[in-house]
Amino acid sequence: MSTALTTSKNAPVDESPTGAPAVRISHVHKSFGRPGTATPVLDDITLDVAPGEFVCLLGASGCGKSTLLNLIAGLDKPTAGEIEVPSGRPALMFQEHALFPWLTAGKNIELALRLNGVARPERRAEAERLLELVRLGGSYGKRVHELSGGMRQRVAMARALAQGSRVLLMDEPFAALDAITRDVLHDEITRIWAERQLTVVFVTHNVREAVRLAQRVVLLSSRPGRVAREWQIDLPQPRRIESAGVADLSVEITEELRGEIRRHGQH
């Protein structure tokens, strides 16, 4: 795993030469199990994500979208092909908040800062700043179990940002939340993405969520996962998930997604 973490907290890193992608996935294959009997999960995935781009990976279950995210995060190695993240180890958010219950909200963020090499005197202030960013100023001393589901995901977001990476990977982070909270968090991630000029790769099986958030939606086929189709979403941000534009595109993409799923019913 790369330990090249020279990212400093306060000054944003200069982007790599213009045109270079923030995430480059070239001809990635992934299969689990022993060679020979292994079932392919990802088959020849090639995908570039530009710096500052918001990409949603969309697919039914079995499309390997979470596997792909793990590969980008460096938690696993591709069987073949290459993945490059020039800016260093990306931040990753899970469906479960994955906050450590033995630490307060603020200390969770400080741990991420510490592991990222931020000096002790700066940690507290930076953690407070990140909590302000997710509008949880004043929750520094709160224990994880004292926070609501939406608040936990916002702390998790702040902790992910504390890693100082410009690339944020999100694995269905809002799937377990109620619709009202999810809607609000869509607004939040859109705002923070724009404010911090992040590169986001967001995995979801929710078509509307993908269209609500992304600049580009990538549809993956299932078993094995391949890039089936891509859509550029040109609707202006901030969008509303119930708006007509989002709905129209969602209908189109859902049709395509269902087509992909239907193929698995016919042998």
Binding site: M1, T3, L5, A73, L75, R89, A91, L92, F94, E96, A98, F100, P101, W102, L103, L111, A112, R114, L115, N116, R135, L136, G138, R143, V144, H145, E146, L147, S148, G149, G150, M151, R159, Q163, I180, T181, V184, D187, E188, R191, P238
Partner: protein
Amino acid sequence: MASTETTPAPADDLSGVEAGLDALDSVQIQRTPIGQLLRQKALPPLIGVLLVLGLWQLTYSLHVTASYNLPSPADVWGSLTDLWTAGTLFSIIWTSLWRGILGFLAAVAIGTPIGLLVARVKPVRAAIGPILQGLQSLPSVAWVPAAVIWLGINDSMMYAVILLGAVPSIANGLVAGIDQVPPLFLRAGRTLGASGISNARHILLPAALPGYLAGLKQGWAFSWRSLMAAELVASSPDLGIGLGRYLENQREGMSMPGVLLGIILILLVGVAIDLLVFSPIERRVLRSRGLLATGR
């Protein structure tokens, strides 16, 4: 939170909605008042103790058995005040307690790395995991004869017996604690950049703390038991008089009140350490993680 009057921007509207949601969803934590706590937690055991004392006194008064076999609570109290006036009460307790504490700390220092190794290194686990499990069910008194032959009747022998009793339960507690760490925490730790030592220090050990504490608690109980067994068996003027030796001396002197006092003191010290040291730590850890049901 933020007032809605200052900047009428859409973002401000969002923060208002968010503040509302946070207020609606937040978990209300309430602590039970101290009076209620005392009534619920302290009263029942007190009543239990009084009942036992009452039964004891009743049996004595009814002359169910000879009074040299079953002295009255007052006789035992008399033995206690004898010790008190002789000025040896605290030195007897302290001799044993200090040995127990030192032995327990040594057991922690040895059991913890063993537990870590067994939990994290597969071949080590396969090799000594079952042995540790087995040792845990071996009564540590069984080690006393061997320890006496190997080390002689001295303090080292006492500590050896304590270690043999306590190390397996501390190591096993840590193994159980680590096994129960949700894999999600380990993945989260890895994405945050924790590996090796920093992973053990910041993720693995804190996550395993509840199981580890349970192991420590049991480790203390085993230390104390092993020590009492060792003190009962081993007699030497160099060793000083601890609780176990006091008990054995009373038996030799055929003083039943002294024997009962010895038993009661051994019990009290064991319970006191548990109540004053381990239980508060355990409660604190569990409560801070939201693992303790409140309001019961």
